[in-house]
Symmetry: D3
Subunit: 263 residues, 6 copies
């Protein structure tokens, strides 16, 4: 019988715990290592709706990218979304596992998937934080090459590849040849992208002054949305889990989608 502990152990091969940032919270954040698992629901976020979907489907485990608990909790009541989510999980005996910055950094993780989805060639880790036991470098950002093209052409490709309703960007004044990617909020690492020789950086949650900094630095900076830059890893994660645990039913959340819209 597959247990939560088995899934945890497998997740640790995909996204080893030593690859996470110091401040992060990953692993088994709710439930029980000894619980048997027959159904796993996979999603980007462990929000209330995802917990509810898992309960209704009869899953014993949710596997997500973002952590169920980020700010440590001083209460668990139905007055907060996180409290309601935990109550649903506990009431239905559902465990919650996540891999966050360890999955961002891991070979084959969030950013490798994002780079591949954008069709980058010759993908490399920017400023590797270390190497894994097989000598493969890991770290937050990836970069890769595309055939030289105008920024507008690249924007069109990004929108299609990631399924974004809209994009926000600043034109750094250069054609697109070498692209850095960092799913989620990575605009603070702009200089690393530049120092790696990139002309273009795809990330999310970009602020006003960051767009201006990019313009000053001559970097094309593209905000493709937190959800759309990270969500591609979910399908890959689901596939890998299904392959590793053929007797367990693995499903991607059917309801979870970006709540943010463009007008």
């Amino acid at each position: 019988m597959t247990t939560v502990a088995d899934i945890l152990q497998y997740m640790d091969t995909l996204a080893p715990r030593y690859m996470k940032m110091d401040w992060d919270n990953v692993g088994l954040l709710c439930g029980s290592r000894t619980a048997p698992v027959t159904k796993i629901l996979v999603a980007l976020d462990p929000f209330e709706g995802v917990c509810q979907e898992a309960a209704e489907w009869g899953a014993e485990l949710i596997v997500t990218h973002h952590p169920l608990i980020f700010q440590a909790l001083k209460s668990i009541t139905d007055e907060t979304s996180i409290g309601r989510g935990i109550q649903i999980l506990c009431r239905n005996g559902i465990s919650a596992i996540n891999a966050h910055t360890n999955l961002d950094c891991a070979p084959g993780g969030v950013n490798d998937v994002l780079a591949a989805r954008l069709g980058l060639q010759n993908i490399q880790v920017i400023s590797p934080a270390g190497t894994n036991e097989e000598g493969i470098p890991y770290g937050l950002l990836r970069c890769g090459e595309v055939g030289e093209q105008a920024l507008d052409d690249f924007l069109a490709d990004v929108q299609v590849a990631l399924g974004c309703e809209g994009l926000r960007y600043v034109d750094g004044g250069k054609p697109v040849r070498k692209v850095a990617v960092g799913g989620g909020s990575c605009a603070g690492a702009m200089l690393e992208a530049l120092h790696a020789g990139c002309d273009t950086f795809v990330t999310a949650d970009i602020k006003y002054n960051q767009f201006w900094d990019a313009k000053d630095l001559g970097l094309n900076l593209i905000d493709a949305g937190h959800f759309h830059t990270e969500n591609p890893v979910v399908a890959v994660l689901a596939e890998k889990l299904q392959a590793a645990f053929p007797n367990v039913e693995v499903k991607i959340s059917e309801n979870h989608a970006d709540c943010m819209k463009f007008y």
Copy 2:
């Protein structure tokens, strides 16, 4: 129908939130304000055994002195006692309310009950932190008088009154006339007791150097146990809740007792 919110509101009259210490965590720490309540289990601590007892008895609410969550939580798993307790509560839809340092300080709270149980006369608040809306002072410690007696006689009375298996103490070299009390770990407030003119201080969790400090200061210092100095408030709390909510069944935990023994 009585709800958790009704009980919370009533608790706030017994132990107003503004009387708590800054670092404390009190109020509704688990569950739902809107949940109906027909059975309340009252105990000193919201430990796993108490949660289990509540579930078995069918209570929808536990009311305790110590908080369910003190150190903020980064996970809720069955690998910790607190995690197991929360899972039991959530699985059974049980809410958890507590009044901690606000109940220590409140008029009629932990320390007034302790002082009365010890038979002190002319009970006063030591260094009041403020006054409530009726002008009654509140604060952590209480002091009161006993007929002058030898320390040994007073020790015998304390043991009987609180039902302690044993006591630890240092003899400050004075007969007992004016006694300070602080349920739980209050030995750090030894100088306040002395400055209030007390010759004797009853509290708990006393450390080696604190016994020596008391001896140097000429203060009889008695460790009557954390449980036994605070538990008397539980019965009073249960009575008051029962009186205020006659249609709700209120019960004191039958299993919860001090785990520490003397040899």
Copy 3:
């Protein structure tokens, strides 16, 4: 002869220094109080392009909302945009004045202008920080009413009123009746908007988790862009300066515009 000191003094009546946040940097950040002023260039930001435009036009002063120096400087070289801007100003004897969070908070400042531009009625300060010498409250956010309408209709109005190329938003599930506004990055004050009874909040630089928080809270949250929510104050500032100093030529920057585009 009008001097920089005269303009500073007038600016202090529009946006008194005591209204600024503790961490802010406002007032005369470059140049000389005694310099004569015949031409003032007004802009949202004191970026390099604005400094260059001022030099070419022959202005002796730029007046902006954002500060020339925010992070304190350890060098002033042409390797950074801010260094180049300061070198242009010093080379051409141009002073730089700004009013930042004091102008956000001041009656008639950034947020009153924004609220008026959006056609809000019965405009109020949310959680006032104090009152000015005339007893008028000041503070960061404003709220006001609109005729009840669907969110989509309101979004269309916002886009037109502020001239935004695009908007990002989350639908809180309510029609629009009472709207809070906070130019720039104010999403962190979401709860204040909610507590003031607002169903809708217009601000900028909104992050992924903030959109989700708003959805959980049932608040329509609209990101209309940092530039577009703050820039309306520039025209008002220019008008007021022109009216107060009729012998000085006041011009709004012709080149400065949002660098961020939508795709």
Copy 4:
């Protein structure tokens, strides 16, 4: 002629300074390295009574486990016990040497003596902090084995071996086979004892929540008193000093005893 410096040097072989905790204060805390020594008084604590006894007996040196000064001093007056102690020492030209956490950790120190006194077999250091120059590991806690027995039987042995008036304990639900010891306040290291495979932990100054933690962890936790768990080292220290300095008179304090009593 033996001097204080000679004793210090010898003490450093018994309890090298590099074995102490960072926050600790050890070595020569009062007096003079060059003072001749003919009489040494040895005690657990350098309290006022011990200083007085040293003065009356004519000792030039006291050697203790606890430091004369722990909190750094801003005054030395007769209003505090520590001030009176220092005044007695200075008035009588008595030096004060101590070995505190370095003696706790050293091979043959506080915890090895405690383990031996309890009759443990196959004594090991738990989580060694390092090894000394002879390759012998050192560290805070020790563990060792006893013939399997009921907790009650072990409690009886502890009481006799250490001469305790009473013991406090929690029953972890296991028979006693492998015992960890940490003289003084070591309950915070409970998990290390558990991870070393111990079923029982003898230490002191245990608090309410620590007893409960032990119960949850299934660990027999015994509070045998700060004095009684550390004092055994005093006799050993006196013997070793006497052997090393046959021409010096070495005496254990006749007055110093635990001030805490049981009732």
Copy 5:
């Protein structure tokens, strides 16, 4: 019989404790409140030589400006000057009282005496920190007027008045009319002196950049030495103590003098 407590009480009328800086250490720093006093040695510093002089003369008390203990002590050995001083005091039963920043600030204290010694007229407190119970302002710096004169003339007067071997100064480019004084290291308060309308500031321990700052500000800044700017208070203190305690012998240290020389 006069006791140390009597002197302490009197000192508190001259230099009340509430006038001291937060970080300061003043009052009875060694000895005993109950000790009888027949001889008091007064000096600027409680250095080893002063302690020795007190012992040889048979004083039971030293009264100084600087504190015996400033950095809190972790040991008292003859390897440090402060350790030797304390050992001399304790061995001879000598108490040590000081008034430091409270005497700097007090009406009639260090800075009033310094201002008077320099012949300033119309002496005022600069930026008073408060008023004493008689409504007289107190604070660190004093200012006063002199007949307008060249800086050189004033320097000559300062040297004679304070008995300085030499002076260091920067010429601020102004004649001397209004002078600020701050005994000891007060150059950090240069701007307060300037804002009080002073053209000249007499203090000590002035650093390179502070001389340049003064020159930039157009302030004559004079370093008359830490000793020579503070020592005048010693004679006044001795006189006042003698007048208040006619039966006690009060003497100024005969040996203590500035150790710093000019070449």
Copy 6:
């Protein structure tokens, strides 16, 4: 054509950046790496007068020891000396380079020049911080030997060698044989000088308690002035720059001198 970048690169061979203290600010603090250089003004400090002299002489670069910006700047106005200096530099297109603690520490830097100027023999680095790429040690202080002499004789030599108007010193009670030097404010490193076997230490900005500490330690401590202990490096720096860049005109500031005088 020589550029600022060429000078920077050369300066980095004289005083490599890795030799600076963590808190220091060195290198190009104003101007442009690409600016051509035909005239360099060299001075100890980049004060306003030096900036003005550079402008009048037509220099494109000033090279100094002290940094143009030390405390990071939040404004650049003509109300401060540093603001005026930067405005002069920017207005005249003058760059500013400095080497501060890296030049103090570098072989051949401030302290080697000072030691040589004082005629010390067998000059060594005290407590080297490391070695450069040629294996030569670097670090803050230097020491060296002189023929044994009375302190008075050495003082006379120091005054002549450094051209000091006056000296301040304390007599440590020893003849002069081995001398430590630390240009500027290095008195805090007194114990390092002592541990290196020095009897005498020449530095600057010495405070009252530091003179007394030196006396207690038996160290002759000499304050030869911040300017006079550091300025000797200026001539050496000018010579080296001239030799390295024969086509550039290099001049030592004619106006910059110590502002502090003795009386």
